[in-house]
Symmetry: C2
Subunit: 409 residues, 2 copies
């Protein structure tokens, strides 16, 4: 029997228990023994649960789980950052394999936990931390064995994608779309991480670190969110026969790389443009295999639980990269040199507005200009992204008063 | 050192040699030892080669390779059917791991070779046999551990997809498109397997056998090719704002399954509609993970070699499903009950043509009718596919005089 300690019994934890129950006979045949969730860490013993679990299995005390000699694998799906990190580290230190879906912990501590797992000769796997149900982490690790990964690109955050899709499809404004997303369970009460791009940045940091074989930090990724997008932006985007997606993009060439998270305006009918609601798409380019694209559910109880359990099966069957480690290729970050064509909309009082229009006209950086009352929207020629930051700071434009999206059309 | 015997030094074989050379240092670090192609089976010692290979490595005698105690893994990329099969079987029998890209052999002997490998405690892997560079076989095996696979769908043949794309994009007729495909290396001198759908059928047979956990034979898959498609069909399809793809589709519900290979008319802007030229797209639906889609290069030296070498690395690192076997779920094939809306074009002499039009009008199966000289094209209501076969045989229409595509719009 393989005993598992489960940290957390929320949506994903419940999905894990259900899949194991559902596939009981099949898994027993596959691995030759039973998978048993022997202990579950919860916060509140009195909370009502969707599924029937024997009370003896529940505990509020982590030490009961990590101290249990019979537990081989610990699955962490409790969320949060500090506590989860401490538990994962402790579990590895005590000789347990660890599987987690926690992108915040993985993004922050990927190197430390990977090295610790290797030192202890245990697995530290995190398939579910990026792309939900899409099997991307293992893929990328394996393809990076045979390929120089030259580009990684993805719609990696279901919440922001759901929100943007709703705005485009149903002409909702940002607040309405956010409210609806929250009501339907696609956005959290505090949506900051999702709408400001931080969640996408974490995932891109994980993918680039694996794919580019260097320690790409979150700070090395430029990050622009979608919280300031207005109805006028949606109208402008639609009038271009386009849609907008929050994309993580990184390219590597001659040991130099860009890495950005930003709203990108693309043709409605492009591959990325057709990835709607809470689905995710991840693509990467290898110098041998060419471009590979992976599409699937970016979140949800079963898809995420499915990704976690595929890690668990790999551990039980010893089908994981036992010697896997992270490398340091010492790449140069050249985000400062990043150029693109940008859509910029500002909302300003008349005098500032006029000054800004004069300024950008003098600079000759715009192809197109749309003004409407206080809103000025313009599309730039190919310029340094830094230039835009210059304009924003020169005219002291507040965060809520501008929206920027890169054009990929 | 891991010694490999390579059977075949054509496009893919050459790619394998090149990638191993190119990734030498990296692979040595990854697996802790060198990968060495120690012997290569070729047909003609005097043929000029694109790459420099030491003559001592080349042999025209298979027994020299299979008899070599130092060789652990045999890679088969020689193509063909009977000879390749005999060599693979012999290699497994002599205790070698085998990796192959040969879809014809895999389709015909999947069960036998899988069981033999298991008996001998060796690997028989065939990632490259379906989807070229797309890592689909391993994925599907793994997802089928946790999911009931309910649907498998794919553009699986690069040649026919290239050809159809050329016809749609450049208004070429079938012959011109075929000639161009042959000239560019996308179609073989004898393109029968590709354009009649046999190659797609083989791949669908492999995927369904893995995914549905039953031995789905080639004979259990209805198969319709594209060789009779004419310019008028392309025009009709384009006038519907659609495109046409040769799709393999299989669905499973309540132990009953359909499996078909047929031209399918879909919206130009749909996911499958946008997969052009020699690229492939495979999608499957699991009851837990939802739909997953995988896109990539369907053929080519490096993508195929890449897929083969990912199998080789899995063998060396023992990261393959050592106990993997095939199951027999005893499913019912219900192809006879398959229904769809169909586009049918026939080219007939006037009297037969009139009779047929009267017949289909009486049967009330058509939604729409387009006639032009000898060509009659009509779109049916949802009907049994069998009905179409009835019409074809009732009016004794010869293969080259009709074209059928299912509508998925």
């Amino acid at each position: 029997m393989v005993n598992i300690g489960l940290l957390g019994l929320g949506t994903v934890g419940t999905g894990i228990v259900q899949i194991i129950e559902d596939r009981k006979n099949y898994l027993q045949k596959l691995i030759g023994t039973e998978i048993n969730i022997s202990k579950i860490l919860i916060r509140d013993m009195n909370k009502k649960r969707r599924i029937g679990i024997h009370e003896d299995k529940l505990t509020t005390d982590f030490s009961e789980i990590v101290g249990d000699q019979d537990i081989d694998i610990i699955i962490e799906v409790m969320g949060g950052l500090e506590e989860a990190y401490v538990y994962i580290r402790e579990a590895l230190n005590r000789g347990k394999h660890v599987v987690t879906a926690n992108k915040a912990v993985v993004a922050k501590h990927l190197e430390e936990l990977t090295f610790l797992a290797r030192e202890k000769n245990k697995a530290f796997l995190y398939e579910a931390s990026v792309g939900g149900g899409i099997p991307i982490i293992k893929q990328l690790k394996e393809q990076a064995n045979l390929n120089n990964i030259q580009e990684i690109k993805g719609i990696l955050n279901g919440t922001s994608n759901f929100l943007l899709t709703k705005m485009i499809e149903e002409d909702l404004d940002f607040k309405e779309a956010l409210k609806m997303s929250q009501k339907l369970g696609y956005a959290e009460a505090d949506p900051t991480d999702d709408i400001e791009g931080y969640d996408t940045r974490r995932k891109l940091r994980i993918l680039t670190t694996i794919g580019f074989k260097d320690r790409v930090k979150e700070e090395s990724i430029l990050c622009q969110g979608i919280s300031s997008i207005k109805t006028i932006d949606i109208q402008n985007i639609k009038s271009m026969d386009c849609t907008i997606k929050l994309l993580g993009t990184a390219t590597l060439k001659d040991n130099k790389y860009y890495a950005l998270v930003e709203p990108v305006i693309i043709k409605k009918n492009s591959y990325f443009g057709k990835v709607d609601y809470a689905t995710n798409l991840v693509s990467f380019v290898g110098n041998k295999v060419g471009e590979l694209r992976f599409y699937g559910e970016g979140a949800g109880s079963f898809p995420t639980a499915n990704a976690i359990l595929s890690d668990v099966i790999d551990i039980i069957l010893k089908n994981y990269h036992k010697n896997y480690s992270l490398e340091s290729n010492d790449l140069d970050n050249i985000n400062k040199l990043f150029q693109g064509r940008y859509y910029i909309r500002t909302t300003l009082e008349n005098d500032t507005k006029d000054k800004m229009i004069r300024y950008i006209n003098e600079k000759e950086i715009t192809d197109k200009l749309i003004t409407k009352e206080k809103d000025v929207a313009f599309i730039t020629k190919k310029i340094l992204k830094k230039e835009i930051e210059n304009i924003i700071s020169k005219f002291n434009i507040r965060t809520e008063n501008y929206f920027i999206g890169r054009l990929e059309v």
